[in-house]
């Protein structure tokens, strides 16, 4: 019950290269002073790559993916609730 087959060795290597490149980009962007949004966006892309390929969500049944999505949404919910308080006082 999977949409894709398991990640190949090549996919694993490419994902590693991707996340390292993104990390380097993050570092460079930070030294240039580009701020919060970009750093978080890069972090999100790295996490998605890790989740889809290293954690094999791309080849996992729907229930595993649902659990992962819910986890992310709820962390965001917590941050939104607290920030929505402090930022709008």
């Amino acid at each position: 019950m999977t949409t894709h087959s398991l990640p190949t060795g090549r996919a694993i290597v490419l994902t590693y290269v991707l996340v390292v490149v993104l990390a380097a980009a993050s570092w460079i962007a930070a030294s240039l002073g580009t701020g919060t949004g970009l750093a978080l966006a890069i972090a999100a892309v790295k996490t998605i790559a890790i989740a889809l390929v290293f954690m094999e969500l791309i080849a996992s049944p729907a229930s595993d993916r649902v659990i992962a999505v819910i986890a992310v949404l709820f962390v965001a919910l917590m941050c939104a609730g607290l920030l929505g308080d402090v930022a709008f006082r």
Binding site: I70, L77, L82, V86
Partner: protein
């Protein structure tokens, strides 16, 4: 040959992997804690008979309501139906031999007991006076045994998470052949939804307690205004768990109600799909509403508005369920017995409790009611009028399955009457008290409130009496009750297909899902 006697010996119980034995041990434990928490409440109510409260000092009063809350919430309410009846009934209802991870199930129980012991140590060694809500900065600076209690509750939280993981894995992977998600009994759906909340919300409580303990021990100052900290942020983290926690407490109760309503009416539940939708809806939307506990804490008006609206939303799901239950009973041929009598009490009190919830969710009104007895009445209507009543319904409904005996129906009805009437007399005056301005957690009060307090205390004595009587006749019935058959309620649900009490392996041969759990042969 039943699970009670096979295998033999105390060690075989203490190290059991049988979900039924683990459930029974949880049941005994939560009943003990119900009595303990109830004793704290009774002392509180007795002390409140006099406006100047000669019975207890103000500081003792603070400890009493804190201990009442901590014991009732974490040692009774949260585990009561899921860990006791969920454990016993879940595998039986899906045709499984046990839960997904029996050894982890056993670990869950002992971790729960360990946490409970640490909590009890805290209560005895100095006590806790912060309220069950552990608000900072008081909780991080009070010299009482707060850290010890926080650690104890943290440990029981670990037990909850393990139970939740176990139940989720069980429902996902251990249904008997042919049992699809859309055929699951409503109690199973309720336990599944509860488990989702258990695994997602309890870690947040874990963090909150960890922060209280660490801050208390090492003066972290994360919520201390002197370091720039904000106590309201602690409240956010605490209620992010504690609001969904109340759905941990009520959803299993609603599952019990669905089962008893269906069995007693000899009809399949009306609007099955809607009830399932509402069950999952409560579990998820329940996470969106926590700020309504903090309307007057100093939150932004933006958050107040958002949480107010979302809190209204969650009531819709409960309303769907009440209409579905009523619809199931309407036109059905109801067999009156103690379980359905408790269900009538549940529906009646839950509706009032729920409506008062919508009332306090209205932020402009809550400004008046917050931290008064009105809120206390609201949540006791749900927690006691709802969850505890459902717990008693479950106890009476599944008693014959568990013990193979039947209790005296006369005593059952008497007990139900005492508990129901006692509850109403205890908590209805508290709506009036709160609305008139009586603050919660106050040991003394102005003299003109006395008559309402006295009425409430009389009710509490009746409620306590009803509970004690109930436990007495149930325990007597274990020994002297008339033998009940495998299915005294003539229910179509799966758990009644096994003998009463079930053998260790649940079913004599692997069951086949050849008809539905609600197949009463009616067309509607």
């Amino acid at each position: 040959m039943s699970f009670w006697t096979e295998p033999r010996g105390v060690k075989s119980w203490l190290l059991t992997r049988d979900h039924k034995r683990i459930g029974v041990m949880y049941l005994v434990a939560v009943l003990v804690f119900l009595l303990l928490g109830g004793t704290f409440a009774l002392i509180l109510r007795l002390s409140l008979v006099e406006p100047d409260n000669a019975l207890v000092s103000p500081h003792t009063y603070d400890k009493l309501f804190t201990h009442h809350g901590i014991v009732m919430v974490w040692l009774f309410m949260i585990p009561s139906i899921p860990s006791a009846f969920g454990n016993i009934m879940l595998p039986l209802m899906i045709g499984a031999r046990d839960v997904a991870f029996p050894r982890i199930n056993l670990a869950s129980f002992w971790i729960f007991i360990a946490g409970a012991i640490v909590v009890l140590v805290a209560l005895v060694a100095g006590g806790v006076d912060t309220g069950w809500t552990f608000y900072t900065p008081y909780s991080t600076s009070t010299p009482t045994a707060t850290t010890c209690a926080a650690i104890g509750v943290f440990v029981t939280g670990v037990s909850s998470i393990l139970t939740g993981i176990n139940f989720i894995a069980t429902v996902h992977t251990m249904r008997v052949e042919g049992l699809r998600w859309r055929d699951l009994p409503l109690f199973v759906w309720a336990i599944y939804a509860t488990s989702i909340i258990l695994v997602l919300a309890t870690p947040v409580l874990g963090l909150a307690l960890l922060l209280v303990a660490a801050d208390h021990a090492w003066a972290l100052g994360l919520f201390d205004p002197n370091t720039g900290g904000d106590p309201v942020l602690f409240e956010h983290i605490f209620w992010f768990y504690s609001h969904p926690a109340v759905y941990i407490m009520i959803l299993p109760g609603m599952g019990v109600v669905s089962e008893v309503v269906s069995t007693a009416s000899h009809r399949k539940p009306a609007w099955y799909g809607a009830i399932v939708f509402a069950t999952i809806g409560i579990a998820l939307v329940g996470f969106l509403t926590w700020g309504h506990h903090m309307f007057v804490a100093g939150m932004s008006t933006f958050d107040v508005g958002v949480f107010g609206i979302l809190s209204m939303l969650v009531a819709i799901f409960s309303a769907i369920k009440v209409f579905a239950w009523t619809s199931t009973m309407y036109g059905g041929s109801i067999t009156i017995a103690t379980p359905i009598l408790y269900v009538f009490t549940f529906i009646f009190l839950f509706v009032f409790g729920g409506m008062s919830g919508v009332a306090v969710a209205t932020s402009s009104l809550d400004v008046h009611w917050h931290d008064t007895y009105f809120v206390v009445a609201h949540f006791h209507f749900i927690m006691v009028g709802g969850t505890m009543t459902a717990f008693l319904a479950a106890l009476h409904y599944w008693f014959p399955k568990l013990t193979g005996k039947m209790y005296s129906e006369t005593w059952g009805r008497l007990g139900c009457a005492a508990v129901s009437l006692g509850f109403i007399v205890t908590f209805t005056p508290q709506f009036l008290l709160g609305n008139a301005g009586m603050p919660r957690r106050y040991a003394t009060y102005p003299a003109h409130f006395q008559w309402l307090h006295v009425v409430s205390t009389v009710g509490a004595c009746l409620l306590a009496g009803g509970l004690v009587v109930t436990l007495v006749y149930l325990i007597a019935a274990i020994k002297n009750g008339k033998p009940a058959g495998a299915n005294p309620w003539r229910s179509a649900s799966f758990e009644w297909r096994s003998p009463s009490p079930p053998p260790p392996e649940n079913f004599a041969e692997p069951p086949r899902w050849d008809r539905g759990a609600y197949d009463y042969g009616d067309a509607a």
